[in-house]
Symmetry: D2
Subunit: 508 residues, 4 copies
């Protein structure tokens, strides 16, 4: 349905005149580039479902057994066989991974405790389609502790941690996922989640929109019982806005992608670390004294620039938006056009959300040894296709690292073939995933328990108060102590002592 | 009319459920604390009109002549006498100040050039009430170059640069202002601007709302010819929202206070520098190794924390809002309650927008020599009144610096008696004033030229495109080169090549 | 005697093959540039004695009385008249200044306490010649508490804080100093300190070498009773090395200028703050986004660069030494020749210790509004003389700020006429002065109590252990807790548990 | 011979009263802890020869062939068989590695060019014993280009890159090394380098002192023809000082370990990056908001602290030396005793050069999930042995990562079993190795060409001018442009225009 995936918080997130509205208002995106409309539900699989997610699966060895999981008879130790995974014997190993993850996801653990009595998801039947990792397992087991039944498939054919899937299956969850699914497997797994006699989901938790799409296509009647959709990805959110705009969205949907905490952590704070990590793991480059150009000064660009400056790099920035450009100036970066510095820089990083930011002409002018990578979105920012010409030689020197060699011997070091460096070559800290997972859980609770009429058939942002609640659940990790307003102060400020503390438009 | 003044961008700007709307939408603030309503137009003078603004007037010697300007016969060299200032002989000195300011306000100079042919303010009769400084003079002369007639009064009884007023009067402007006006003078000057036979203003440029208030009170019929109000201060903006809410706003008003560029510059970037400057000028304290607690992690707090951390201070932060608190954690600051660190810190800085953040109990527990100051808003954050008790001795050691001495000899160093440190003890860089002035000029042009019906009797934010335009006019100062979208890219992003580049809710 | 003053720790401190040796070794400087030798003891007054020291004297009003102090009959409240100062009535005001300074000089206060019983300076007769400030007063009263008698003159004709001198005189010290001495006064004061019937000094504490010089010239026989000289300034230290080299040094001398703590604080840490302070107080410039070139990457340059980078400036560095240049690269600064960036920078800062680093040709090429200042040494780095030509107009716009105007209207903003910005336009924090003063006191104690033969007629560095002791006395200011070695660890490292902890050549 | 290895630049490098002397002076270390003396030449293998060096060998697959290289008949394509390596077929792959390394070692390439005509090592017969990596290969081929003959062995049984060894052998070098040597292999290889009929070395390049030791033990007569030893490691340098002290050093030796550039790069700049890299690769920890204690504030500690602070961690520091402690304070770190913060920190990093800095008692008090690692020296800083008790469970969760589990379930994450994190879990950038290799090459040239009598049978530091030369050769990498002194300036400063620019004691 979508021609391109968009990364949240990219450098120059396009305006496209969206009007985000808040919990009690409907939300619409205007038209995306027109070609998108032409593609329809006859699509096969979303791009996000094939993006490699190397590190998340780093423990998993998929080479041990060549039989397809679909062809195996599967049972856990209690005789339950309503799942399909790689190898149930890995359950113990997976359990340990989950336990370790639990220690870094205190917010979900706190949710389990706080909601223990009330079971706010009692009766909820959640069907989910996300990356299947230890962190997801903590989320699923939290939902279960809150009263929900869960059935789950993977949103990506490569990213499943088989041992975690095994632990979940052993624990009684109906999981259908393994690392290295075929496209046919992918849809088969989703179908197995949804299509069960005597069981109908009433909540959807989706990441990328493929599950939602499948139900729309195959089981549209299911929506009668569904109370809402919680969607995490930019791609999936965009699809929902399209549906809404087309008048086809038949249940309320919660966009958890645009919550403040998720945005800041996924982009600014996470990229501040992952740019260094991704570059080091792939190239062992020394940052000190290096000249770097960062294309785009949105949250991702801001994070990259701050980190590299702190490590002693000399950073140049390109921008199309004068406001972001002015920020870059005030933060101490030279604002240039790419052409002005392309011959002298050692590293080129794209964070724009745009396409063809680095084109063949730029690549031709780079100096020998220049490293080129993309932190922005999808794989469109660097025109990698333009490098697939006969006179250039490609040499794979490490996993995710190619040398592209010009006839005169010049080598460009291209990382992850222009795909997202942070997904391909570094890891996402559990803490960031914890924020996302907690937001998802709260969104499910909100939608499931909302009184009739609070939400219509539209796309909503999480109420700010819940955003604040997610943040507050993560403060103990830092041993952070919040100050409480006195009655007098609350009155003075015209605020409720428990928040929300800021207007919706507050910029943070 | 207003019981308290609010500083823009303060640490914990209260939510008060405002819904900012954009250019084509009306904008309302919900009720402020209820007591505000009780005070009415019978007020005398806004607090902002008496805030001292020390540095802006640093060149001015007001002691030379004791005769009130109102009692003097005044004429400039061309025989024009339609003004009232301190001393026309200072005109040359003032002209030089203006010329220097021009060099740092390239955006206004660029506006003069670009609009030279078209005269977008031809026919405009602007009555203004702002600080009268060299920077204001550059603005006024720009408005004049764009075709406007201007009459001007001071919005503050202390802040007028007499020599600049003289240069303006000599240049033919009708200026009514001098340093050290009485309250009666203040209103007399405003009245002289407005009340002129055969001349009626059609545009208002206000800073604090006193001018607007005066016209409402004395000459309500004038509003029939007035096309709009441009208001810069938080206080004035708040008054406008009050009027709008009460259905009494009878012309469109433009809130230039909440534009992105102004906000970021007035708060984050400006405070990052002025906290250091203000502390050094008053106390000569060495920052390295000092323990500091910053109350509030809004834009102002973020700026203060970043600067002090960079100078080697150890910074603790207090917050009420869990989202800001989480940001502080990720930025490397210990999040504490004030009580936890009050005994050990060397410096206490308030940036909350709240009241009684530092109370007598905290002051009693501070260690000897602790410096206490306010960067947040007004003078409410530190409970200075609680220090006016018999057992404490006050000792003025420098301008703006008091030692408050406890019976046991402990001294607290209180700066600016709890008023805003950055206004009282440091200067606002011309560059920041340039951004504000440019935004004001553009707002006047927009309101004056807007087609019938674009703006109703309500309060508006500047359209984002104009915000971007203000930013773009300031980029040449940094020799910053913006990248332009290709047609293909613009299409891909669904953007107009000339902007706006971001949705209204974008956080920057 | 000296043609130029040299600032400690300057950017490119010349090697001149000095061989610093440590406490039990003699120390020699090789020849300085040859012309120095030509000037002899027939000199009048050292340059350092006329350097203005604006801020240190900021409280002092010298305009109240035109009678020369030498012509006045002076007595303190106890009838003692062995002093010569401006006005004894200012004693109370001065006492308060001293008390405030005491609170920021805890190391000296600790010395007073620790040495209370033993009186390690009992019998010492110290004659001193330093800046007379509140901080010096704390030192003098400490020496007195340790048992010494003190007589004191000013080392600079402008820097005396009259009220502090009054407080000292009132307290019984024989002080001969006032702000605004003539050259004749200067030497008269020094003579009055030394030349007293029935009293002969046995220790010298000097800053600049003028006192030492005077005794050499007028009372050479006094050296028979003198146990040693403690000298603080680069200039004075250089003179001592000259004397030593010439075989004319007849007592041991302690070079306190080159101790680690003093060096790091005077240069790196102090300049990191004073560059910002000096620029703000004089020009109110906004640092964010400014392009700055710093000439010299020694300790001073490192401090300036770090501060400006942190404030969002874009900093370029010039260097002659490839090692310092490599450090600048790794710290994230572009290493350029001045010519490459001179047209584009907003601020030029010299920190080289060299001469003619910024010459007329460079000044001609600077852009309008460029700020030029010197943080390095003396007034030789910027060729200010080259600007004294008829076609250029000088305009004094503030104290310490000149606009030099080219025929085409271009203005260069020259600070402090090329003299040291940090001395002229900012203040030295008391904490830095505390380190120096403590080092001086310890040096006096060491020299006064050293067993026969430990020190010969040569120049010595303070033993490292004393340097460490000075540091340890300042740690409580930061509530810093030092770890102690266990016996086992000390043995493992081959160290004494009480230090010294590092070899002499350790770089810190 | 040595009981412990010492890392250069460690936090609290012990004083041990060394007196470093410069090129024309002899240099001695005082006695190390006495037990060292007891071990004699009867030792087998130095510790450094078994330290794992994981990353350097990351490309090498050692599993392909189980036959010992010693048992194989080996010949390169030209029929030469004077080498012993793993597999000559890997030569092409190794050549590419070398070519890539050449691009990052421009200084050696420049040396090749500059010295092309003169061949300063013509006649030199160099026997070397170092890590055999691509970077070493560039050094060896440079020495060869300068005229030297080379025979080489590995200084570490694990670190050899087999494919590089193959490329060297194919290129005609007599290399004796493979990854995974036994101890017997180790000495056999060294012997094969040295013991060749008709060939005697006249220069030694050693890293760790094993080669030197072997010749001392087996072929003492060889020293008659040997002109000098160049030693790189702390361990090897210490051995040389021991020999010198014992009067047994029979040729001049050059200590390249203590050159400024090597020290700053190996410690400050390299650790600033490798602490982040090492922690990320092993634990994927997010740095933002983490509380970290760094033990030791020497160069290594300074680098770690700067990096973590920049990434948003809250950093505490422990120190024994008050001067370093004061620096930490001024740089913005709380100076604590370990016990004060041990319960609250998330990460503990040792950089002291000491032993038992983190003992069992501290480990018992750490919170769950605390990460513990060593950046300092050897494996003595953390008392790992104390964790080998029955009640604690060790769980290897990844390569180099152990969970040590307390009976109550608390887990400590121990990295690299307390060995050096930066060697075990991150890589050393080629640029750093380039500086070392260039210094080694210059030291060989200096010793080989020094006129009779310049160097005696002692240990020397590289002349400062050569240190500066090494730096200057690396500046082009950064496109850095050095300023040259004018004749006038050189005269003013008393410097030679070509350096050296600083006195030997300059601290940088």
């Amino acid at each position: 349905m979508l021609k391109k995936e968009r990364k949240e918080g990219e450098g120059s997130k396009p305006a496209v005149k969206k009007q985000i509205q808040f919990a009690d208002q409907k939300q619409e995106f205007n038209k995306r580039p027109t070609k998108i409309g032409r593609r329809s539900l006859s699509r096969s699989i979303s791009q996000s479902s094939t993006d490699s997610y190397s590190s998340a699966a780093s423990y998993t060895d998929s080479s041990d057994d060549e039989t397809s999981p679909r062809d195996k008879q599967q049972k856990n130790s209690k005789g339950n066989g309503d799942f399909c995974i790689k190898n149930i014997k890995q359950a113990d190993f997976g359990r340990r991974e989950i336990e370790i993850a639990e220690q870094e996801m205190p917010a979900l653990m706190a949710l389990r405790k706080r909601a223990q009595g009330e079971k706010p998801l009692a009766g909820a039947k959640v069907v989910g389609c996300t990356h299947i990792t230890a962190q997801t397992a903590v989320l699923m087991e939290t939902l279960s502790a809150l009263g929900a039944q869960c059935r789950w498939a993977a949103c990506n054919i490569y990213s499943t941690q088989n041992e975690v899937a095994a632990a979940l299956a052993e624990g009684g969850f109906s999981v259908f996922a393994w690392k290295g699914e075929s496209e046919d497997d992918f849809w088969w797994c989703i179908d197995r989640c949804v299509n069960l006699e005597g069981w109908q989901p009433n909540m959807i938790l989706d990441d990328g929109g493929d599950l939602t799409h499948w139900i729309y296509k195959k089981y549209p009647n299911m929506f009668k019982k569904i109370k809402g959709i919680v969607e995490e990805s930019v791609t999936g959110v965009h699809r929902l806005y399209q549906l809404s705009k087309a008048g086809k969205l038949c249940v309320p949907a919660m966009n958890v992608n645009d919550s403040v905490t998720k945005q800041k952590f996924d982009n600014l704070y996470c990229c501040r670390e992952s740019i260094l990590d991704g570059l080091k793991r792939t190239t062992d480059v020394m940052f000190g004294g290096k000249q770097v150009v960062v294309c785009g000064y949105g949250e991702v660009g801001k994070g990259c620039c701050a980190a590299l400056k702190a490590m002693g790099s000399i950073v140049y920035v390109t921008e199309i938006d004068p406001i972001c450009a002015l920020q870059a100036c005030m933060d101490g970066f030279r604002m240039v056009k790419l052409n002005e510095v392309i011959r002298q820089v050692d590293i080129v990083i794209t964070c724009t959300g745009n396409k063809n930011v680095v084109v063949r002409e730029s690549l031709d002018r780079m100096k020998n040894g220049c490293i080129v990578c993309n932190m922005g979105h999808s794989n469109t920012e660097i025109d990698v296709a333009s490098l697939r010409t006969p006179e250039l030689t490609w040499e794979r020197v490490r996993s995710q690292v190619d040398h592209v060699i010009w006839p005169d011997g010049k080598r460009i070091v291209l990382l992850a073939e222009g795909r997202l460096l942070n997904l391909s070559c570094s890891t996402v800290p559990t803490f960031v995933l914890s924020i996302t997972a907690t937001t998802q859980a709260l969104a499910l609770i909100e939608l499931y328990n909302a009184p009739e009429g609070r939400y219509k058939q539209d796309v909503y942002l999480l109420p700010k108060k819940m955003d604040e609640y997610v943040a507050s659940l993560h403060l103990p990790t830092f041993d952070a102590h919040l100050t409480e307003l006195t009655d007098e102060q609350a009155k003075y400020l015209g605020l409720n002592k428990n928040g929300p503390f800021k207007p919706n438009y507050y910029r943070y």
